[in-house]
Amino acid sequence: MTFKYFSIAAFWSVLSLAVGQTPSAPSTAMPPARPNQRVAVRPVTAEDLARPAGADWLTYHGSYAGTHFSTLTQIDTRSIAGLRRAWISDTDPAVAAAGRGGGRGGGGAAPAAGAGGRANAPPAPIAPVPPGQTGVGRAAGFAGNIAAGPIVRDGVLFYALGPNAYAIDGRSGRQLWHYVARASGGLSNRGLAIAGDTIFMMANGGLTAIDAATGEERWVKQLDGPVPANAPFVVRDRVYVVVGSDAGTARSSIEARNVRTGEREWIWYTIPKEGEFGFNTWPTEEEASRGQGTAWQPPAYDPEQNLLIFGTGNPDPIKDGRTRPGDNLFTDCTVGLDADTGKMAWYFQATPHDDHDYDNNQSMSLATIRVNGAERKVVTWTSRNGYFYTIDRTTGENIVTSKVFPNVNWALDRIRLSGTPERNENKAGTQGGSLVSPGSEGAVNYPAQSFSPQTGFHYTNVVNNYSPFYWSGETFLGTFKNSLRATDPATGKVVWQHEYLEPNGINARYASVLTTAGGLVLTGDISGNFVAFDARTGRILWHDELPEASLTGVPVSYTIDGAQYVAVPSGTKIVAYRLP
């Protein structure tokens, strides 16, 4: 896992503001918060969640297929020439995270509604934001950037920014309500979920349920361990959450919780216990018990098989595997879990015995494609380790394993018959240094990848890079170029790619991708533009220079009264577009 966008800016703002505060003395510099308004949206049903993304965008990925594909067609390869900015979000400034984990004070009871109509006034430790300060890297109280995309229901956008959740009007971008948690999981928050009339957010040291209508906190269910702030994921009566950390010393888990009560219904540990299948890929229970393997991104869901398809993260100790010989299952895997029981139906390991921090935490795109003349139900993704994979999602059987760049060198040329690359042991970190491609920043990272059922191609931003790995750690080098890529999941062959000239492109693989039935690929470049490509050819059709920052989160699309909008998270703002 990597926190990139907000690191320097967070430093700047948090330090320059917060040093004037003491925890026991809430500042009076807080601008008057605007009163929360009541939001009228219809409750989201299980059937709504099971539909492809159209008028609404109801999950992190847009739909259960995990594809970041919108069925909307009003904005297409021709009409996009007329696309215009409709609004930039207008909200209360974000409140910065107080710290990590949260859950102080026990029980997670919400503080009483504050004066001025704010549903949840921040308690003292959260540094308030002085008036008149906005902008990435300048905003005091900087709470990171918007790292996910909004959930959209009936023209209302719900999104998270650090410990803040907002509801804004999808027609105007104006704030409807603003909720402030006491803590977010880590610095960023990677998205919300919705079910019924409840918004779910990983915050306050656990799973937090917020009233979609009012922004008021309903309950917090504390979780037993660090809470990464990735988007919760709802199927019918369960909300699926993840517990774990990046460079930690525990066993990560995926949990099913009741959508109404937050009570746990099952738990699946990413690392097996003694006697369980896969335990023999660890030397001892002691090593397995601190191996982590956190699933940092929400899963896809295959309703036909009732399987949640999750990607899991790196084993620990991170970037040093000397104490944990073996493949270290089920870290860096794609796994199919029964949504009702948590029982694992199959697994596929992207990186065995990972010692380069190659989290397999990408969008798992479910697709139905033709492979050698036969129809196959697959899951396809580009992994952080520099390999592109397509596997059968009914069995986990490998269909395609192909290198994203020819110089990817952590594995041997001959891959295992299972499709898992065989690691080159010489490319572990060493005393003298081992020059490895990709470095731990990855060929890709966690941001959204997309699959278009219209073209049959998979789309992602990729970056070709190297790092030397030492026993004493990794050195991150500079100057690596990135490109947007369309890949045929049946073969792994690159159909087209758009290479960016900008030489410091390593940051640019952080641009999430959206595809639409209008024949478009929508994403960001490192230079701060929001760009539309022709999904078939890769030709640039349109762009807009984003006003505040590069594309930082997940772009989504929705309609209001028949008009299609595209909403783009950029720094601390949402920028929305529509046709005139």
Binding site: N504, I540, H543
Partner: protein
């Protein structure tokens, strides 16, 4: 952020000044001096995790983050038992070039002492536990000392072989770099390079490509752009930035010109001063990289 390198047990230069090339002076482990007062650590934790939010970048354990924020438990400045006086001086200035701003007001003596206590407590906590110690409740066991490879020098190569490679036809280093005083050198002279980079790991990294993760052409003259229009007109300059829609150039004096682009026109060709180093990355064998580094380390 500065990359903290080298031996964990290296003697810390006095005052913890920054060494050349952004290498931060290293603290011994465990830190020198007595363990800090627990009450001060409690107060310092509030400063570290909340008020100043140091943890946002340096992590709750102080050991840095994935974005190369420095490991404070190995920072001589952060670990010195001086009641926080060094911290006060550092935080007044910060290191804005690395994204670390100055504080907007100085720390009080009490705050400085508390923050120092907190940081030093993290330094004591960061000492690798002996192998085999039992697990704490709900957590895995501490890491074995086997992972303490940090003490070892990265100099594992053969300098004689490295000299041969340096002068040979595969790497061709000597065709651009001189290693002796007074000799003409097309690229940077490497005479005394090991004195400039006393840490062998920093030396090796600089050999690979002397740029850190967030390097950009806008801050240096490394990349030249040649912009060619369909009618044959060309414009040249130092690259500031380039996209599909705009290329920004600078002249010698730093004056910028922004030229719009559309559908691949005008064409932009970049010339990177370090392109040869980038082209070498896929060609190194690790053992040869070690040998080359070992040779460079002899150039004191």
């Amino acid at each position: 952020m500065a990359v903290t390198v080298g031996a964990r047990q290296a003697p810390a230069p006095a005052g913890g000044q920054s060494l050349p090339s952004g290498v931060t002076a290293l603290a011994p482990s465990p830190p020198a001096g007595p363990p800090p007062d627990p009450a001060a650590v409690v107060r310092g934790t509030v400063l570290y995790e909340t008020t100043l939010n140091c943890a946002a970048c340096h992590g709750s354990t102080g050991r840095g983050g994935p974005n190369n924020s420095p490991d404070l438990t190995r920072s001589a400045l952060a670990m010195q038992p001086d009641g926080g006086r060094g911290l006060v001086a550092f935080l007044r200035v910060g290191r804005p070039d690395k994204g670390m701003p100055p504080l907007s007001r100085p720390l009080s003596d009490q705050e400085a002492a508390d923050l120092s206590a907190k940081l030093r407590s993290l330094g004591f906590a960061a000492v690798p536990a002996p192998a085999g110690r039992g697990a704490g409740a709900g957590r895995g066991a501490p890491l074995p000392a086997a992972l303490g490879g940090q003490q070892l020098s990265v100099l594992v190569g053969d300098p004689k072989l490295g000299k041969r490679y340096f002068e040979g036809q595969f790497y061709k280093c000597s065709s651009c770099h001189s290693v002796r005083d007074g000799e003409p050198s097309q690229a940077a002279s490497l005479a005394h390079i090991a004195t400039k980079y006393p840490d062998a790991k920093a030396l090796q990294n600089a050999m690979l490509i002397n740029r850190s993760l967030n390097w950009s052409p806008r801050t240096n003259k490394d990349v030249t752009a040649t912009v060619t229009y369909a009618n044959g007109r060309t414009v040249k300059g130092y690259l500031t930035s380039v996209s599909d829609f705009k290329v920004v150039l600078r002249d010698e004096g730093g004056a910028e010109t922004a030229l719009p682009r559309n559908d691949g026109e005008p064409k932009v060709v970049l010339t990177d001063r370090l392109q040869y180093h980038l082209d070498l990355l896929p060609r190194y064998l690790d053992s040869e990289m070690h040998d080359l580094t070992a040779y460079l380390a002899t150039l004191k």
